[in-house]
C-alpha cells in the first residue's frame, strides 16, 4: 500500500520537451497520451480512465478513475501521468482519483476498441446495448473474427479480463469483461 514507483516507462516524452507554451491543451494532450501499463496498446484516455485535466493556480490537476477498485496498476498510472506532465512543462502535477460515476467499459473509445482487438484482446460488448439482446452480441475471436467462441475462465490475467478460446481457429484470447 506504500508502493512507490519510478516506473515512468509508459509516459511518452513530450515532442518538444519542456520548452513549449504551457497551455491547458498541452497538459491535456500529455495526460491523454499516457499508456495503460497493463493494456499497453491503449492510452488511459482511450480506456476512459482519464476524466479531466484542469489547471488550478498554475498547477495541472489530472482526475482519473479506476477500472476496478483493487486495480494494482493505479500507482503506476499516477506516476506515469506526473512524469508525462513534467515532461510537458507541468512539474508537480496533482493526480486526483474519483470513484463516481463508476467506470464502465462503455467509456472505451472506438479507437481504443480497435487497438485492443488488433492486439488480440477482444473488446467488451456494450453494457447498454439498446434494442439488441446481449446474447446476440457474441464475443468474437480477435484473430479470425469467428463468433464460435467459448469462455474458459470468467477471470483472467488482470482484474478487467476474462479468458476465452476460439473454436474455429483454436486460439485462446483475452476478453475485456463488460462492466
Amino acid at each position: 500500500m506504500n508502493a512507490t514507483t519510478s516506473g515512468a516507462a509508459g509516459a511518452p516524452a513530450a515532442a518538444d520537451g519542456g520548452s513549449g507554451p504551457r497551455t491547458p491543451d498541452r497538459a491535456r494532450a500529455a495526460a491523454a497520451a499516457v499508456v495503460d501499463p497493463e493494456l499497453r496498446v491503449v492510452t488511459i484516455d482511450e480506456l476512459g480512465i482519464l476524466r479531466d485535466v484542469a489547471i488550478l493556480d498554475e498547477r495541472a490537476v489530472v482526475t482519473i478513475t479506476p477500472t476496478y477498485t483493487g486495480c494494482p496498476a493505479m500507482d503506476v498510472i499516477r506516476a506515469d501521468i506526473r512524469a508525462a506532465l513534467a515532461a510537458a512543462g507541468w512539474p508537480d502535477a496533482e493526480v486526483r482519483t474519483v470513484y463516481s460515476p463508476a467506470w464502465s467499459t462503455d467509456w472505451i473509445s472506438p479507437a481504443g476498441r480497435t487497438k485492443l482487438a488488433a492486439a488480440g484482446i477482444s473488446p467488451p460488448a456494450p453494457v447498454r446495448a439498446g434494442p439488441v439482446p446481449l446474447t446476440l452480441l457474441r464475443t468474437r475471436c480477435p484473430r479470425c473474427g469467428s463468433a464460435d467462441t467459448e469462455q474458459l475462465s470468467r477471470f483472467g490475467s488482470t482484474a478487467c479480463k476474462s479468458l476465452w478460446r476460439c473454436r474455429a481457429c483454436r486460439e485462446p484470447f483475452d476478453h475485456l469483461k463488460a462492466l
Binding site: M1, N2, T4, Y68, G70
Partner: protein, 224 residues
Amino acid sequence: MAQRLGEWAAAAPEMEEDIALANIALDQLGAARLLLSYAGEAEGAGRDEDALAFLRDDRQFRNCLLVELPNGDFGQTIAKLLFLSAYQLPLYTALAAGPDERLAAIAAKARKESAYHLDHGRMWTIRLGDGTAESHARMQAAVDAVWPYTAELFASDPAAPVDPAALRGAFDATVAEVLAEATLTRPADGWAPTGGRDGLHTEHLSFLLAEMQVVHRAHPGARW
C-alpha cells in the same frame, strides 16, 4: 475476506480458479482500502488505511465472523463467497443510493464487482450441488457449516447508514433461488454466533491478523 481468498492462490482445484479467487480478493481488498481510508478520515485522528488494517489488534476489528472463518474445503469457501456476495450486493446497492456521497461513490463501484462475485459463487454452488453424489454431499455440508454465521450479517443496527436487517429479504430470495437450482437444502435457523461487530471474534481472526500484520509491524514505515 481478501486475506482468506488470497490463501487459495496456487492451491485452488484448477489454475483458472486460482486466478478467479485472487481476482475477487483484489476487488475485496480494493473496496476495503477505500472504506478504511474514509473511516480514518472520518475519525480525524490521523489514522490512514494502513494504520487501521495493520496496527489494530483483534478486539478492535469490527468485521462479521463469516469473513474470518478458515477457508475449509473448496465448497466451504464457495459457500462463504455465495453468502457474503448475496449480502454485499444489496448492501452496496442501498449505500449507492444513500445521502453520503463519498460512501455512495465507493458503493456504486463495489456493487458492480459484487454482482460478478455473486455470479461466481452461484455458478460453483450449482455445479457442485447439482453434480456428483460426492460433490453434492460436500456442498451441502459446506452450506450447513457456514449458514449459522449468516444471521449476524443482518443484525439490526438503526445507527448504520443502511440497517442490515433491511437486506435480509434480498439475501433470502437470492439464496433460496441458488440453493434450489443446486438441489441443496436451506439449513434450518438455529445457533447463530454473533459479536464480530462488537469486537468479539473467533480465535481464527487472531491467527489471520498475525500473518497479515507481521511484515508491516516488523518494518515500521518501510517503503518499497
